[in-house]
């Protein structure tokens, strides 16, 4: 029988382009914060899941082993999971199955990324994720695939760059209320459109920054939850799905794999009308168009409708469907796996009423977070309820 799983605490470091702390030290600070917030110590933890993205950023292969002491893994069942940018929601899914299976009562999930170690720019590490035979001889930049996907999305639904820029404006503004944010700012659509063109149609302010950071959260089983809190948030649905590696063989305008992951999570959470039943959402927003792309993938609106919702203010923090109230990757920062803090942890903080200045109004009870990664092919989705 599957056990019900609750989130009872979370923590994070600040997100910055470069932090002085090592990966281990960042993990320690985030983990300590999660434990303190739940009134627990490492002794209470049965199992530990570590999430971290490509080893090439840290320059340390077997990064999971390198980080384990900081993540509280000493002398415990410990494993690392990695689904590229999808890790920030997939690592807590892996934590969920540790508890749902009945294997452990308390699972600690820690995510870390230290992109600044790859110097002077982590793009040089991204160059190694491409297929060596057919893609790499063309000397690609990872920015290209986003630019190509954004262009295809704009073409399919006749979406303007102005409408897409509204997402960057919203998320960077939301991030002003986040105490850990790297790039919170009041900017305008014109600021986005006039910022440096990196790879058209992508301008500098369409993109989230490389960041250092760590995040942690504590998952417990229904059997022990009352020992620790009277304000749990329950994980009610999980889903994940991946598309073919042959990314040049599919129409990039719609993320089928996100829709598959969402359907899997919604079925488990008994959600049959996501637009009405979900109160707050944290879609993955490494680029502004990705929030729109993912809202459609999450079946929260029709294909091509997300820009309209954005223009009408529906996705503002006080709108009918608040999207990225944290400030997202665009505003808070993008330490790849550690974006768990602004996706999964944020939905926990929102649903438990702890989000402070970022709190969406109206006592939200059902939230969804989603992450996306690998070579434009991976989606992970979690539904939570309070």
């Amino acid at each position: 029988m599957v056990k019900d799983v609750a989130v009872i605490g979370a923590g994070m470091t600040i997100f910055r382009r470069r932090l002085k702390e090592t990966g281990k030290e960042m993990c320690f600070e985030a983990t300590k914060m999660a434990l303190d917030s739940a009134g627990m110590t490492l002794k209470d933890v049965d199992t530990v899941v570590m999430g971290s993205a490509p080893d090439a950023f840290d320059g340390i292969h077997m990064k999971g082993e390198n980080l384990l002491d900081g993540a509280g893994g000493y002398h415990k069942p410990y494993m690392r999971v990695f689904t590229g940018g999808g890790t920030g929601v997939f690592a807590p899914i892996a934590g969920w199955w540790h508890v749902a299976s009945g294997m452990s009562d308390v699972c600690l999930v820690v995510c870390e990324e230290k992109m600044s170690s790859c110097y002077p720019h982590p793009q040089s590490a991204f160059a190694h994720i491409w297929d060596p035979i057919i893609d790499r001889p063309l000397k690609p930049n990872l920015m290209w695939i986003f630019a190509m996907e954004m262009n295809r999305y704009m073409h399919a639904h006749n979406v303007s760059k102005e409408d897409i820029a509204l997402v960057a404006v919203k998320n960077k503004k939301n991030a002003l209320d986040h105490p850990c944010a790297q790039l919170g700012a009041n900017i305008t659509v014109d600021d986005v459109l006039n910022s440096e063109v990196i790879a058209w149609p992508v301008n500098l302010l369409d993109v989230s920054p490389p960041s250092d950071g760590a995040a942690a959260m504590l998952l417990v089983s229904e059997d022990v939850v009352s020992n620790h809190t009277d304000n749990p948030v329950w994980i009610e649905g999980v889903g994940w799905s991946i598309d073919s590696t042959m990314w040049t063989n599919r129409d990039l305008s719609f993320p089928q794999y996100v829709a598959k992951a969402a359907k899997m999570a919604y079925k488990m959470a008994r959600i049959d009308n996501p637009r009405r039943q979900i109160d707050v959402v944290e879609p993955y927003d490494p680029f502004d168009y990705k929030e729109l792309h993912h809202l459609e993938g999450l079946l929260l609106c029709d294909k091509g409708e997300a820009p309209v919702l954005t223009r009408e203010g529906v996705t503002q923090r006080d709108g009918d469907l608040p999207c990225c109230p944290s400030g997202g990757l665009l505003g808070v920062g993008n330490p790849i796996a550690a974006t768990m803090a602004v996706k999964t942890c944020e939905i926990y903080w929102q649903l438990s009423g702890q989000a402070g200045k970022r709190q969406v109004p109206g006592d939200p009870r059902t939230g969804v977070c989603q992450a996306w990664g690998d070579l434009m092919q991976y989606g992970s989705v979690m539904v939570m309820r309070s």
Binding site: I14, M33, A127, I133, W144, M148, C180, V197, Q354
Partner: protein, 170 residues
């Protein structure tokens, strides 16, 4: 963050602090080399490129002509059945005008790059490649394009045996 948390950890460093030697760092540049065996499908594909030809593989169950070729169909999950030559013309599915190189260094002359769905392969079966002989304000999705090949003696069995794709000008 919970509202109750007053202090968030982390100390920010600037790039200048590193270049000025103001902080303690250690450095290492890994030097490793790889040689990838290209396998059955891609070895044939690359050798055909030397001849100025593009080749795909057909799956007799879903009847798709897969390009780039592979020895198995990932959807039917069975071995593919036959080699099929496809054309060196196609249609632009999407593109970008890039002002950054592979190391995120800024470049003056932009790279035009995109995905081309090839004629003779199944729907949406494309490859990534460059475009040229087209101005960046004239390139369009759905534009018909044709491969521009290196001269035969310059070809080496690589995707770069095609220099770029240019508008067909139909």
């Amino acid at each position: 963050m919970t509202e109750n948390i007053k202090k968030f950890y982390g100390e920010e460093l600037s790039r200048k602090q590193i270049s000025d030697g103001k902080i303690t760092i250690v450095e290492h540049s890994p030097k490793v080399k790889y040689a990838w065996s290209c396998g059955e499908a891609m070895s044939r594909f690359l050798n055909e490129l030397k001849e100025g030809k593009l080749i795909g593989r057909k799956c007799n169950k879903c009847n798709r002509i897969l390009f780039p070729p592979r020895m198995f169909c990932e959807q039917c999950f069975k071995a593919t059945n036959e080699w099929v030559y496809i054309k060196d013309t196609g249609r632009i599915m999407t593109y970008s005008i890039s002002y950054v190189d592979t190391h995120a260094r800024r470049i003056k002359k932009p790279i035009l790059v995109g995905v081309i769905a090839m004629d003779g392969a199944s729907k949406n079966m494309g490859i990534m490649h460059y475009f040229d002989e087209v101005k960046s304000d004239k390139i369009k999705i759905d534009m018909r394009v044709k491969a521009v090949w290196k001269r035969k003696e310059e070809r080496e069995g690589a995707i770069t045996d095609i220099k770029y794709f240019k508008p067909l000008g139909e």
